[in-house]
Symmetry: C2
Amino acid sequence: MAGVKSDIEIARAAQKKPIGEIGAKLGIPLDALAPYGHDKAKIGADFIASLSDRKDGKLILVTAINPTPAGEGKTTTTVGLGDGLNRIGKQAVICVREPSLGPCFGVKGGAAGGGYAQVVPMEDINLHFTGDFHAITSAHNLLSAMIDNHIYWGNALDIDTRRISWRRVMDMNDRALRQMVASLGGVSNGFPRESGFDITVASEVMAILCLAQDLADLERRLGDIVIGYRFDRSPVFARDLKADRAMAVLLKDAMQPNLVQTLENNPALVHGGPFANIAHGCNSVIATKAALKLGDYVVTEAGFGADLGAEKFFDIKCRKAGLKPDAAVIVATIRALKMNGGVKKEDLSTENVEALSRGCSNLGRHIANVRKFGVPVVVAINHFTSDTAAEVAAIEDYVARHGAEAIVCRHWAEGSAGIADLAYKVVELAEGGQANFQPLYPDNLPLMEKIETVASKIYHAGEITADKTVRDQLKAWEEQGYGHLPVCIAKTQYSFSTDPNLRGAPEGHVVHVREVRLSAGAGFVVCITGEIMTMPGLPRAPSAERIFLNEAGYIEGLF
Amino acid sequence: MAGVKSDIEIARAAQKKPIGEIGAKLGIPLDALAPYGHDKAKIGADFIASLSDRKDGKLILVTAINPTPAGEGKTTTTVGLGDGLNRIGKQAVICVREPSLGPCFGVKGGAAGGGYAQVVPMEDINLHFTGDFHAITSAHNLLSAMIDNHIYWGNALDIDTRRISWRRVMDMNDRALRQMVASLGGVSNGFPRESGFDITVASEVMAILCLAQDLADLERRLGDIVIGYRFDRSPVFARDLKADRAMAVLLKDAMQPNLVQTLENNPALVHGGPFANIAHGCNSVIATKAALKLGDYVVTEAGFGADLGAEKFFDIKCRKAGLKPDAAVIVATIRALKMNGGVKKEDLSTENVEALSRGCSNLGRHIANVRKFGVPVVVAINHFTSDTAAEVAAIEDYVARHGAEAIVCRHWAEGSAGIADLAYKVVELAEGGQANFQPLYPDNLPLMEKIETVASKIYHAGEITADKTVRDQLKAWEEQGYGHLPVCIAKTQYSFSTDPNLRGAPEGHVVHVREVRLSAGAGFVVCITGEIMTMPGLPRAPSAERIFLNEAGYIEGLF
């Protein structure tokens, strides 16, 4: 639209405050902040430890309907709600994930919010930021190098090289590295074997960093990593290779939360970013817990739609970290609900109340699902200019019939002024004492039953299938003492089912568990349904071809 | 020795000043510094550009005899001399290379000086520091991913996949990655081909960053990279893949010099660290040039011994950047010269004037070599407690007979107080107007004759051999317009010859050029003699096994 500024133009025009001033809003003394430039800082471990006696603020989860190509604006709404709460007088802290560098060079688009609801400096946040992902890459690959080095020098641990599950990682979309034969070239290069690379966000080290309570817990979890198996099938741990402590050294700074600000100069912690399929898809526990000590309100998000993101936020992050969310916001757009109702992307700007009403089934199920965790819900309609009054009325009506409220939010265009209504509603829910959080299943349920519980209660599957090898593997892990872990189901984000084309609210579908993986350090069992890509590729004309520094030294083409 | 503090103990006890105060010593305003924590900062590009009209200070190169396992202390002496010059009233700035992270986990030992002549914070400098090497890794691997992606999507450039010379890099000692077959696993992963990883310091991107004058020059050089050849044997450039501008975006911050301090709170720029064999082995041109504008004196170092390091400093860095060194310091230790004279490492603590005198031939040749560039020389004897008076007298006498002066330096134990004599001598040489720098050979000499010039004048080789393919390749590059480039000879650092066991000052040996490589972006032709390792491995018991965070949060085992 003519006259509408792009995200990057808005971000560049931001009147940023020195990061020390943002910290001061939360009572963080200057010497507890390690600055990275003038607009980013890490919060020191000693200061965070000193907060332990304080009362926690309210925890608000922002989740969404199943994603569509139309976009929902979950991060944008998270940032906007944080600004909105500050606007109405609450001390609110935003907690979001760090974006991955590699994908920025594939398809245009950052992950720091949008419009007038952004965290800044967005270029830095989307690229190297404070180096956390690079540190995770280094720690992960140190372990990888130590595994092959151990084998090279005689393999005293008797590692079965065919059963090494620990790969290498790189923060780059590089399909050529997915599958390789390494250690070629003769005696001095080791014993050839098959392996490959995942993208850094898929690293178990990332999940560990995001679930660890502090450095000591981080080191313990790193030691717990199972890198593969011996010829006698017993697990080999990272601590058997004596890699865990050096990995913790590499992660010492990465473990500390990053403080930045919104366009409205409100504090945001941007820290950690695990995949939402093979991992739990939430920002770090250490950031969320620190924020709860520092603010009245903490607004955080979880990856993908609520079936994956919210379920894992509740069943993995909250369960393990002892967090008790007070309310949840489900973000929807009229455009995305119309897609769920069968409208094609090119027809989304045409009013279509009937399709919208059909698509609302997706939203309705997410509302019901989130309530199963004992968390009260409000729906945020992230407003687009093409939305019509009839469409807005239809969705408000649908949500009201489901016992909740849908609130139109204009934070993208108006900043906090456009989202104050949602902020008031969130405060009403959070302070109304309705929340009674509990995870979906108890720790002591057998692993297969945990999968079945999520699949039936959240996905509404009719049948859950798994080969004998999968069932046997789950039983073996139970015998080895991993039965108490939660499950982390890797499923397409586009549908409640395992078929990405099945939009809306499918019922009675079959969920087939194809493979299971143990993330013993992170503390969950990954259950893979369908194809999961852990190393993306670049498109035919990657955005890297159009990213450059302009004459003023600004980055163009990244967003 | 009892009572003697370790490097890390000394570093931890440092009374560091806020980095803004260190910058202020050089007249750098606070807003021209981007802080990384409280003790590291990057100097802004605009501020550096604003210095262009200022007069340059004096440029002092610290180089050394051929390295031995006994150690010479070149970085330690560089740091010590910087402190010494500040002590005697000069505004001196130290310019040294950034250490590589990977090797820290192999064999114990950092690269930030030692004793009371260190740059701090040494743990940070040796690990992630300000993220420069991670940025170089990302930029390098983005180009790698774009090459395979281009081939995957149809190979419109007609790249011969057998002739791709651009590999991938990782800052880790990982021998398993030296040689691999990638793109395995079927259609969606691309076309299988052989490739491998080098360590990040071996990346041409590292050499480019260290030779570029500014961001525009960096981008131009990145575009000039030759990644391989088409089926018609014509070169494929990084700019043909449209990768150059996005790579520059990734390197925007890494391009800016890092300011830290010595234990005596004097300013040091620690920036860039290319290999000294397949690259030129010096810190960045941008750091050295900025330092020359900011200080009366700039003390810098070059990798390995003077045959490799000083030659490349003069013939590549100074030639290309228009630098004119005013004096050179050749660092030697009595222990290392005794090793050059045939003494075994375990016998080094016993007085042996005869072996020392024999070993002095190595020092004598380096003195004569450096003078061939028109640069006056002083010898720094980095003192060890085992050195005897007779040994000191012998080396002083030897150096005097070669028309130079040898000065005993005790900076390791005493800081600047122990190196003031050397500082005075350096000032005398630099201000005496003796320097008349010129490179060893002119730009327009044919490439093979450039190799012959270095090999005969510096290495004292009797014969230079090369296969016809090598000679043909050099001629082809001359025809393609690369004949004006300097040569960068990759040779063992342990000897003037290509035989690492031939210590002292061998004469008349044969130098065989096994392979040549074009670094068109960096701007030199690499000539490989003997085996050059571009991806190190880890030892049987890597130091990573003993690196950990102690209860106080300090890193143990790294140094």
